[in-house]
């Protein structure tokens, strides 16, 4: 998230950019150059739209031509068949684009990675065939001689530049708004680690859908205006692969995930390709595509982060005395929610939980009761099903059988972010940080669940960091932290949502003695504050000192439960850990 002054600077930059474009437009004499300028602006909008979804959330769309094409056809068909003016249909394109985004996103966001990319590729190509079949091979927008202005038809091409500029400024302001809100933070968190974002209470589904709908709306409006400017719409030119490719190539060239990257990409590549096409198009008919192909390969090989980030890194490398931003006046935020803690009352109750993966029975009839205020340990050898149990509790996995009740309400069927909202925070066996964000931002993501506004979220995150002893490291980037710091950060991220119960998955693993004591202290403090703790470990020693109740899992079954001292003497537990041969020996030694 940006500071307020930075946001202000960006708004100023947008204003300066708009004025510069208008000046250039005045200087350009030829109608052809003004047409090219209009195209630069429209492609910048298209690329910003792509960036809004794919740049921020990391869900790469290879099918944004679907929205562009729907926009173009909405305007063309509206004018030809219904006599509607683009003044009406272009705003309507926003609705068409958003609706298409919702329809496409609803099934497609169940997919990730390669599958998502491939599915997105299919939509515009399928539409291409459908529009061809419908007989819309080539639509020409009719000239309206009566009242051309009412139909967005102007003799002066500069008017189109102005219209495209308005759309671009709107797209830039929307992108800026998104970047500076929890919307943008949520998308960035999704890009960097989606399960962690979900477990931290981010409703990933909702944000992804919103991003795609917004992106679709912008792309459709740009496509609609494009139809007005070029007057001819064919399925190949609006749904073709080159359209989708161009949207992402411009953004990647300029700098993916940045406000100005798509604009830079459009300003460099569109005139280049257009110019070559005009000069050499007769001799070399595909030169435009070749230019885009070479540009995208070159940028990936030479500066894969894009022009914007490359330049920014250069500029930032200069030593500059950056004044420490003034910390907002400490808003005192209670970390533990105000509530009466019914110590001893059943908080989490699992009954008969079972789950299989293929033929493997990962959990088999697990019963578990955790009382409020307890510090409850789950131990077991590798592969016992401990992490699977956590994944079932927090909603990553749906069990085949059994019930889970939390504070008297059933949990099964809830998405992880809903489970988080109910008051269950968790950490992961392999720390899931958002590596490109600062520690503070990592924790802020978790705070959105409870915080009404962004300032409160930040204050809560700072309190949580202080709580785990990382207050001084708030601005460090998570990618460069030690294991101990990352584990504490994850703990802070889990705590900032003010959970009643935290699930700690091998929080102690891989830590040295000194680090261990620090974390044990934090966990004990949690319990003292009334937070119930359920912790997984596979080493017993640290746990015996910490917890007041043990549950032992082995091969998906619960083999023992009780007070730590009793459990460690249980022959079944010794057998699970050391093998049968050791049981007798251990008993002999104990006596």
């Amino acid at each position: 998230m940006r500071t307020r002054s930075e946001t202000h600077r960006q708004r100023l930059a947008i204003a300066v950019f708009a004025v510069a474009v208008l000046l250039v437009c005045m200087v350009l004499k030829s109608a052809y150059y003004q047409l090219v300028l209009t195209q630069v602006l429209l492609w910048a909008v298209m690329s910003l739209a792509w960036n809004l979804l794919s740049g921020y959330s990391g869900y790469f769309s290879f099918g944004h031509a679907a929205f562009w094409g729907l926009g173009a056809y909405t305007v063309a068909l509206g004018m030809i068949h219904l006599g509607l003016s683009p003044w009406v249909t272009i705003p309507f394109c926003a609705i068409v684009g958003a609706a298409a985004g919702a329809l496409i996103g609803y099934p497609t966001f169940r997919l990730r990675g390669h599958y998502f990319a491939l599915a997105m590729l299919a939509y515009p190509l399928a539409m291409l065939y459908v529009f061809e079949w419908l007989g819309y091979q080539e639509l020409t927008l009719p000239m309206q001689r009566e009242a051309p202005h009412l139909y967005m038809q102007f003799a002066d091409p500069r008017v189109y530049v102005a219209l495209a500029l308005i759309l671009l400024v709107a797209a830039l302001l929307i992108s800026l708004k998104v970047e500076n809100s929890r919307f943008g933070m949520a998308l960035l968190a999704i890009k960097q680690n989606e399960p962690a974002a979900e477990a931290a209470g981010i409703d990933t589904w909702r944000w992804k859908m919103l991003a795609l709908m917004l992106s679709g709306a912008l792309a459709a409006m740009a496509g609609g205006l494009y139809a007005v400017v070029l007057l001819v719409v064919t399925p190949d030119t609006v749904f073709g692969m080159l359209v989708s490719a161009q949207a992402l190539i411009l953004a990647l060239f300029g700098g993916v995930g940045s406000l100005w990257g798509p604009v830079i990409g459009a300003m460099v590549l569109v005139p280049l390709a257009e110019g070559l096409n005009a000069e050499l198009g007769d001799v070399l008919p595909g030169i435009q595509g070749v230019v885009y192909g070479i540009a995208i390969i070159a940028i990936i090989l030479v500066a894969p982060e894009g022009v914007y980030w490359r330049v920014l890194d250069r500029v930032r490398r200069r030593p500059a005395a950056v004044p420490e931003p003034a910390r907002p006046a400490a808003i005192v935020v209670p970390l533990a929610r105000e509530r009466s803690v019914d110590v001893g009352k059943d908080l989490l109750v699992l009954q008969g939980i079972g789950i299989s993966f293929g033929g493997l029975r990962a959990l088999d009839g697990i019963d578990l009761t955790v009382p409020e205020g307890g510090l409850h340990g789950i131990i077991g050898p590798n592969g016992a099903g401990k992490t699977t149990l956590f994944n079932v509790i927090n909603g990553f996995l749906a069990p085949d059988s059994g019930t889970i009740n939390f504070a008297g309400e059933p949990l099964i069927g809830l998405l992880p972010n809903r489970v988080c909202r109910r008051g269950i925070g968790r950490t992961f066996q392999v720390v899931r940080a958002f590596p490109r964000m600062s520690l503070l931002e990592n924790v802020i993501v978790g705070a959105f669940v409870r915080a009404a506004d962004d300032a409160t979220a930040e204050a809560m995150a700072r309190t949580a960091l202080d709580r785990v002893g990382l207050g001084g490291r708030a601005d460090a980037i998570a990618g460069g932290l030690t294991t101990r710091e990352l584990r504490l950060m994850e703990l802070a991220r889990a705590l900032v949502s003010q959970p009643r119960l935290v699930l700690l998955d091998e929080t102690l693993a891989g830590l040295g003695h000194e680090d261990l004591d620090g974390i044990l202290g934090v966990i004990r403090q949690l319990r003292a504050d009334g937070v119930t703790v359920l912790i997984i470990e596979h080493t017993m020693r640290a746990m015996v000192r910490l917890v007041d109740h043990f549950t032992v899992l082995d091969h998906g079954r619960l083999i023992a439960a009780g007070k730590p001292d009793d459990v460690v003497r249980d022959p079944r537990v010794i057998e699970a850990y050391l093998g049968k041969r050791w049981v007798e020996q251990a008993i002999v030694t104990a006596n």
């Binding site: 990675g113 599958y115 990319a117 491939l118 599915a119 065939y129 079949w133 995930g257 070749v290 894969p304």
Partner: protein
């Protein structure tokens, strides 16, 4: 509605065209299976194969001495090594720099660097093809593709029958090669776990280069075979990219045998769809099948899903 004859006719047509599809899917399956790279340019390598076969027969007439029957078939086979060479170069100078065990994840573009590079290759091949070959559709005319065998009421195009048999034989040969030669085993090891293969002394980069070149080469042969029964232009690759991915996903991403069966099935789906849908929408039917598979059974027929939280 349609008659039984129509049904059998569509089924046999689908099976015959499915043979070539199965071969091109096998090519793509080798690439995805060993490199985990989505290759957008696969359709354009197929297009190169078509033009290679075209220039060897009709265009420059190098192979006219083989006669109208054998010439086109030999040309289709020769398209393989030619495109293999192009693939080798494209991997050596472009793809290898964004894939493989030694390359760190690319910032910004993330794991998508590879996909985007193949997109770039696709744009260059397509539009470069437009510049070199022109936009007018061409085709390879053989006497075989204009005559048919009749079985009952069902017509079997002779050209397609021959293509089918060749495609199946070549796919089988490739499958045996991967299973029983040292190089093939190295490829599969590199596919399973490139890091581990690297530690075991397998030259993963070379294995990937072979897989990539072999994959596009095989697809090019399929292109050469198809070129005998339809006209084409430099943009024809698009029509086949989705056919190929549908086949590969249907078979299960990563499974080469699955890719073969997937391709065969897609051919049948495409031809059967003409029974109920207008001709222009036969590719739309493939999209629908493709999306259904992705949503309902993303692991395909032969694939496995392995994901850990």
């Amino acid at each position: 509605m349609f008659s039984l004859t129509d049904l059998l006719q569509a089924l046999s047509a689908g099976l015959l065209v499915g043979g070539a599809y199965a071969l091109m899917c096998t090519g793509l399956g080798i690439i995805f299976g060993s490199m985990r790279v989505i290759n957008f340019a696969q359709g354009d390598f197929l297009m190169l194969g078509m033009y290679a076969a075209f220039y060897l027969t009709t265009g420059f007439g190098v192979l006219t001495f083989l006669g109208p029957y054998a010439g086109p078939i030999v040309a289709a086979f020769l398209a393989g090594p030619i495109v293999f060479g192009v693939g080798w170069l494209s991997h050596r100078f472009i793809v290898a720099r964004v894939t493989g065990a030694g390359v760190a994840q690319i910032e910004g573009a993330g794991a998508y660097g590879q996909i985007i590079v193949t997109l770039g290759i696709s744009l260059i091949l397509q539009n470069g093809g437009l510049i070199l070959f022109g936009s007018a559709p061409v085709g390879i005319r053989t006497p075989l593709s204009r005559s048919s065998w009749e079985i009952g009421d069902i017509l079997l195009n002779q050209g397609r029958c021959v293509s089918f048999l060749i495609a199946i034989a070549l796919a089988a040969a490739v499958y045996l090669f991967l299973g029983h030669t040292r190089l093939g085993k190295g490829l599969r090891a590199a596919a399973d776990n490139s890091q581990a293969a690297l530690y075991m002394g397998i030259d993963v980069e070379r294995a990937h280069r072979v897989a990539w070149s072999l994959g596009v080469g095989i697809t090019a042969v399929a292109g050469g075979l198809i070129a005998e029964s339809q006209t084409f232009q430099p943009y024809v690759g698009f029509d086949f990219v989705i056919v190929m991915y549908a086949g590969v996903v249907l078979g299960g991403l990563g499974s080469i045998l699955g890719a073969f069966w997937g391709g065969l099935l897609i051919g049948i789906v495409q031809q059967m769809s003409t029974l109920v849908l207008p001709y222009q929408l036969q590719n739309t039917a493939i999209f629908v099948v493709f999306l259904l598979i992705i949503f309902l059974r993303p692991q395909g027929m032969f694939g496995r899903l392995s994901e850990r939280t």
